[in-house]
């Protein structure tokens, strides 16, 4: 779940990282008051959860409070990348001598956070890494063991920063790393981190993203920031198809049959289990298939829930067949899912043997499941057929239909 800049700034401020004397408002007149309080030139920044603010005119400079109000009014009405702003941030225009980058991101492959520092900030860190790799320091650290200042010091020093500058930067990166771990984040980034003429450092912009599943652990923080439970903060609004998927999953507490994401292909997917959804989705695409959806099924959903999901996918315009595929690891009962998807076909007046391109769920109660599939003439595969091969067979069948 992504934070708006004004929220991310509040989080780092609470962590003891210096920030500017900014103000957030949803009202142009109040923007003027904030600018007046700040005194001197200000920057008015649109608060949207999308990039390209500067290019779209969502970041403007004001020399007077009147100008700040006028800019705020325009920015508040400005849609950027399909998003209307939550408000504007009124920030003092800092006299920055140098811009730095400090960030912590979750490395999904190492399963550890990695802190990143660069004395070249204000631009994408990926660009710096490509053009000046010696100016980017990084280091993984444990999110279980206590964090040591020395780890941050090593990273910063590796980019050539030394002396008093190094000493001032170490607590900032250390606090950022701690904020990251304490709040179950997947991204915590200060860019730019500005060095002012007096040698002090101040965060000029911040981006943060916390693990969605951890929202429950941070209710107090989210309440303080005014983030409601209903705010999903997804990159785009859910489609009616996706909302219908949420309803299916909410039908009862048993198992999962949800996380539906809409795509525009012709092969409906009922997939899941321990990372199986992503693997299978990728496998279908690798074989030239065009998925109509992504979803996750597992944890022993009820027959009604599996049926509801399959019906939803089968009824999606453009879907010719569905592929029902899972990895073995979730231990979801094969017979229960088989009943669900077959029932969906029958209730919609389809022949399960025709509509189900392949059923590849091995595991618990598979003998019972295979009896059901045989009874209805559904092509099924056991664990001797890999996920990749199952995806290939499904694509082959759907392409046969398309031809």
């Amino acid at each position: 779940m992504r934070f708006f800049e004004f929220e991310a700034r509040e989080v780092i401020k609470r962590a003891g990282i210096p920030v500017t004397d900014y103000g957030f408002t949803t009202d142009a007149a109040e923007a003027r008051e904030i600018a007046q309080r700040i005194g001197g030139p200000t920057v008015i920044k649109s608060q949207v959860l999308t990039g390209g603010r500067m290019k779209a005119g969502g970041v403007r400079f004001a020399d007077t409070p009147e100008e700040a109000e006028s800019h705020a009014r325009e920015i508040l009405a400005l849609e950027i990348g399909g998003h209307m702003p939550r408000g504007v941030l009124v920030d003092p225009k800092a006299e920055v001598e140098q811009e730095y980058y400090a960030g912590v991101v979750w490395d999904g492959i190492r399963k550890q956070p990695v802190m990143i520092f660069s004395p070249v900030g204000g631009i994408d860190i990926e660009q710096v890494a490509e053009e000046q790799p010696d100016k980017v320091g990084r280091r993984h650290f444990s999110n279980i063991l206590p964090f040591s200042d020395f780890q941050a010091k090593e990273v910063i020093a590796s980019t050539g920063v030394s002396g008093p500058e190094l000493n001032k930067l170490v607590p900032i990166l250390t606090r950022l790393a701690k904020v990251f771990v304490e709040h179950d984040m997947v991204l915590a980034e200060i860019n730019p981190l500005g060095r002012l003429s007096d040698g002090s450092f101040v965060a000029l912009d911040a981006h943060m993203d916390i693990e969605n599943e951890a929202r429950g652990r941070h209710r107090r923080l989210l309440a303080d920031l005014g983030v409601g439970d209903e705010e999903t903060r997804q990159a785009r609004e859910a489609t009616p198809f996706e909302l219908a998927g949420e309803l299916v999953d909410a039908t009862d507490h048993r198992g999962v049959a949800g996380n539906v994401t809409e795509f525009d292909g012709n092969l409906g997917l009922v997939i899941g289990a321990g990372g199986g959804s992503l693997t299978l989705f990728d496998a279908v695409r690798a074989h030239g298939g065009e998925p109509a959806n992504y979803c996750e099924i597992g944890g022993n959903p009820s027959v009604a829930k599996a049926c509801g999901l399959a019906k939803l996918v089968l009824q999606k315009p453009g879907v010719d067949k569905i592929a029902v595929m899972m990895s073995i690891v979730s231990n979801t009962r094969v017979d229960i899912v088989a009943r669900g998807v077959i029932k969906a076909c029958l209730e919609l007046g389809h022949d399960p043997g025709e509509k189900i391109a392949i059923f590849r769920i091995p595991g618990a109660w598979e003998e019972e499941g295979f009896k059901i599939l045989e009874r209805y003439g559904v092509d099924y595969a056991d664990r001797s057929v890999s996920l990749n091969e199952a995806a290939r067979r499904a694509v082959e069948k759907i392409q046969g239909v398309a031809a």
Partner: protein, 81 residues
């Protein structure tokens, strides 16, 4: 009394179906709510839940031998009893 779903049918002999005490036991035992107690505590079979049967046999354990039968319609009407 017999009710059929798409995959599962449940049959309870008439004498057992009229036993309110057994109806209570079956209602408590079934994890997917296939049994319920109707008027006068008599046994009812909830048709919409029949296909949710997980073949756990708890209903069979809770009832006298042969009183309840679980029939797998997809398996040549194989009977759990």
């Amino acid at each position: 009394m017999r009710r059929d779903g798409t995959f599962i049918a449940v049959e309870v002999d008439d004498q057992s179906a009229a036993d309110a005490n057994l109806a209570r036991k079956l209602t408590e035992a079934c994890p997917v709510d296939i049994f319920a107690q109707g008027g006068g505590g008599l046994l009812e079979i909830v048709e919409k839940n029949l296909d949710e049967c997980v073949l756990c046999r708890l209903c069979l354990d809770a009832s006298p031998a042969g009183a309840v039968k679980i029939i797998k319609l997809y398996d040549d009407s194989a009977v759990l009893a």
